[in-house]
Assembly symmetry: C2
Homo-oligomer: 203 residues x 2
């Protein structure tokens, strides 16, 4: 592309470094910002800068937080004793959006994936073991993606805890609501038959 401005070109390069944003989209966004006269570029800049400087990890659960301890860990209304183990902060938000869980979380920061060079030491598993010792945890709910790596991570953590009396559960896997049986893969469909649940008519 023939840029008439180096500043514009730099902005396009910067925006195109974001995942899923190509150079044509980046150019469209940059030109929008140039033509905008409400200082939108400044507002976006200020907001993005704080992502690098002011956001930290909750020292208890490893979730994204504005403070040393996140809102969920410092809330007194959350049930203690049950921890939901998730891969990342996005998963915490997804589960919070369901309003179905009132316990606390532990964010692993990924899953064990030897091919990507991620071992147990790269995840916050030690931190989890400390929490289990110090807080009175009775149940871990593994809300981890049902992939090979996810299953490996669940297996690894359960093995570490095999001598304890902590209950470990995984979230239910099966055909999604609104999903068509025809399009479900064989493994999912097979498992959802194997782990069928009793159906009762409510009066």
């Amino acid at each position: 592309m023939n840029f008439s401005s180096k500043i514009l070109e730099d902005a396009v390069d910067a925006l195109a470094s974001l995942p899923g944003i190509g150079r044509k989209t980046a150019l469209r966004l940059a030109l929008h910002l140039v033509q905008d006269n409400t200082n939108k570029a400044q507002r976006i800049s200020a907001a993005l800068t704080r992502l690098n400087t002011d956001i930290r990890k909750c020292r208890v659960c490893n979730n994204i937080s504005d403070h040393d301890t996140c809102n969920i860990c410092s809330s007194t209304s959350r049930k203690s004793g049950v921890l939901c183990i998730v891969e990342n902060a996005r998963d915490v938000m997804a589960i919070e959006d369901t309003n179905q869980f009132s316990g606390r979380y532990h964010v692993l920061g990924g899953v064990i994936s030897p091919l990507d060079g991620v071992g147990p030491g790269d995840l916050s598993i030690d931190q989890l073991m400390n929490r289990i010792q110090n807080e009175s945890i009775s149940e871990l709910i593994m809300a981890i993606s049902p992939t090979i790596e996810g299953e490996t991570t669940i297996y690894y953590i359960s093995k570490l805890l095999k001598d304890s009396d902590i209950k470990i559960s995984v979230i239910a896997r099966g055909v999604a609501f609104g999903g068509d049986l025809e399009y479900a893969d064989e493994l999912t469909l097979g498992r959802s038959i194997a782990s069928r649940i009793p159906y009762s008519v409510q009066s």
Copy 2:
């Protein structure tokens, strides 16, 4: 969405204010920036800030520029006498990418569109008339979108110049290369038949 961080939420709001970026995409981008540890957010911020503070309009042609006069207007290798009239800076880049035009440009900053409240006074038409008086312009090439508003703008400018001896041309309209006749709209196909060009076999 349940954000665990106000800073993250602000960044998502800021990114979602960009055209074509929804809140889910904005969240994906913001989380990418939080997890990135190469200071990408800072680099993007710095580049975007300059879009508002350092970019200006070329005082001759109104194109986006880093300096008072843009590269094209200040270049001595561009042919003088022919001006290509375009709507916006994006169109200059598109035409420059073709390598088919070696004259200079004039960026109108839009087209006449009464429904959107854009009249001739909102465009750089006065500036264009000044250029025509001061530079020795022999031809205007109207590279303006073939819409009702575009045609109105072309008509308006041609009418202003009807007593001058400046040649006015419009870029060819017709079926696009690689386009299928079947899918061309009737107006385009009709016009491309009316303005057919002689075909000659080159020896």
